[in-house]
Symmetry: C2
Subunit: 347 residues, 2 copies
DNA sequence: CTGAAAGCGCTTACAG
DNA sequence: CTGAAAGCGCTTACAG
């Protein structure tokens, strides 16, 4: 089966009627519609997307940009795949397809996005890993391509975003550690310019301040957000004079490397050093002692992202009248054993 | 900037010439070409892909289908992202873009692929996670869409594929364990109908046979290919009468759960039970004792996949005259400590 | 309810 | 070397 023309000839009917029947337009005889649908199914006809897109001016495709930089490959683990189910559950309602656009390692993310947008392969974009200043946001705004970013940015202005509650997480982590008697609390932050690092650190600082604890820059450890980074963080922790008694990790899988390095040095996590991770991860469940971390549903986040995005698209906004343009995504603390001990006052 | 027409008007030149200049056709005055290129850059013009595709009959996009089923989400980890760099390095040479097509969890992979193919959103497809009998292969063959599958299948016939050397891995794992004195060697195989499970098991059986060891079905443990599956595998291992002294895992991250379950029972991996994993994974590096496993380069595999695919496409085949249609991808054993002990003859 | 025709944005023979 | 025109496969006003 080639095109709608062949199908129409086969049915001895005009292509216009075939198109209307297939697209569920009301002004088609039910008998005719049935014949068309049956023939299409039988011959395996599906409309060529380029033809549709060109005529309609929309692709019915939503793009999820993925940066597979050396660092993020190990970093993102299954984050994106976890999001897709939620995204698709919403997009499917509107017959929109989701495609993932992996930016090549050696290509500038900005140029890549620009190219994809200019070629009009998608109607809208979801971007993530927003930098502190992110030119992609300006690009999309100017090009008037609907988009939502996972992660706010100084470039955001009035553009829609959803961001994880890094501030809340940092605060409740510090609160919990302080309640357990800790005063020297280190933090493992990303070495890149990703915006969440700034927010996380700000939350940490203000939490310390609330508790009357002086901020000590030497307790901020900058590493890659990976297991290797965790190992490195452990290594650096061990070298700090007057060693901190607790550490908060920006990335949960860091804990694997951290535990390893600590154990090598005879320092037992959860006994000699309190550890709080970030996101709950199936993989990290098997760590011993169990990691205290924060729970969120990637599926639900995907749902919310899709709704926020659609709310900005004229063709779909009426379905989502109450959608917030910006949103801080809450996480729930899941107590583990990695920070359950209380520090003795003497220490 | 809207379309080529606006750009042409702006330059006071015909759209045909603009198109030819932009596409590097030889029959364009160099002066004209420069002007066109400069104006396009300045105004940010990039050809609308739908227009091009419709006219040329090609999309210049290659699709990588991803199944994000409940199981594979945890399973695939960064496998696909690891492939993309290699794939893109080859595709970029031909100005082909790679997009990832995540099949929704609740949609049949066959129907999904059918839809994507019929809509002609891509010129060619890369599929993976091939089942023993895989209708997708018949579909693509019949539709004459160029494709390559990562994983052979009984449905493969003459179609191109690259598969990891599961047979070789199973054989060398058994050889190594036997050399260390093991006779009761268990294997953790996938519970799904994925084809690699069959090949892995066949390799295991024939290796045992070579060594004159009777195949014992009770030593084949079927679990999910995830950490949880590894935990489960550990659990089942511990229940087997005359407990096996070694186990081979089809999926490396199973080792995390396996170690955990064994340790809970006071059984020390690498001392009381020999363990060999499959693929080397950064994540598994931090396991203690270090896991004996098999090394491969995802990047190189991506390169090979892309070349194999392009070799089947008339427009590109002349670039890859020597490409094999089918290929077994070798892996190299990396000795760790998880199976380094020798079993005493007495045992 | 159906058909004939226009046109979405391109590329590419075909003239000149 | 350039322009005018056809046509890729659709959808959608517009007639009837």
């Amino acid at each position: 089966m080639k095109g709608i023309r062949q199908l129409a000839e086969h049915l001895d009917i005009s292509i216009g009627t075939v198109s209307r029947a297939l697209n569920g337009k009301p002004d088609v005889n039910e008998e005719t519609r049935k014949r068309v649908l049956a023939a299409a199914e039988e011959l395996g006809y599906v409309a060529n997307q380029s033809g549709r897109s060109l005529r309609q001016g929309t692709t019915n495709v939503i793009g999820l940009m993925i940066e597979s930089s050396k660092e993020t490959i190990e970093d993102s683990d299954n984050f994106f795949l976890g999001l897709t189910s939620g995204l698709q559950s919403v997009l499917a309602r509107h017959k929109l397809d989701l495609i993932m656009l992996p930016c090549p390692t050696d290509e500038d993310p900005y140029e890549y996005l620009k190219r994809m947008v200019a070629r009009r392969v998608v109607d809208a974009m979801i971007i993530s890993a927003t930098q502190r200043v992110d030119k992609r946001i300006d690009l999309l705004s100017k090009a008037k391509i609907p988009f939502v970013s996972l992660g706010r940015s100084q470039s955001s202005g009035n553009s829609p975003w959803i961001d994880l509650d890094f501030d809340g997480v940092a605060n409740s982590a510090v609160d919990r550690l302080v309640a357990h008697g800790h005063r020297r609390i280190a933090i493992a932050a990303p070495s890149s310019d990703i915006n969440l690092g700034y927010i996380f650190l700000d939350g940490y600082r203000s939490a310390l301040e609330r508790h009357g604890i002086a901020y000590d820059p030497s307790l901020v450890i900058r590493v890659k957000t990976s297991e290797q980074g965790g190992y490195q963080a452990g290594h650096e922790l061990l070298q700090i004079d007057n060693r901190p008694t607790a550490v908060i990790l920006i990335y949960e899988l860091m804990a694997i490397g951290l535990y390893r390095r600590l154990t090598e040095a005879g320092v037992i996590p959860g006994r000699d050093l309190a550890v709080i991770g970030f996101r709950e991860e199936p993989r990290a469940k098997f760590l011993q002692p169990a990691l205290t971390c924060f729970r969120m549903s990637l599926h639900d986040l995907g749902v919310e992202l899709a709704q926020t995005l659609l709310a900005t698209m004229p063709a779909y906004s009426h379905f989502y009248p109450d959608s917030e343009r910006n949103m801080i995504w809450p996480l729930k603390l899941i107590p583990g054993e990695s920070d359950s001990f209380h520090l003795l006052a003497a220490q």
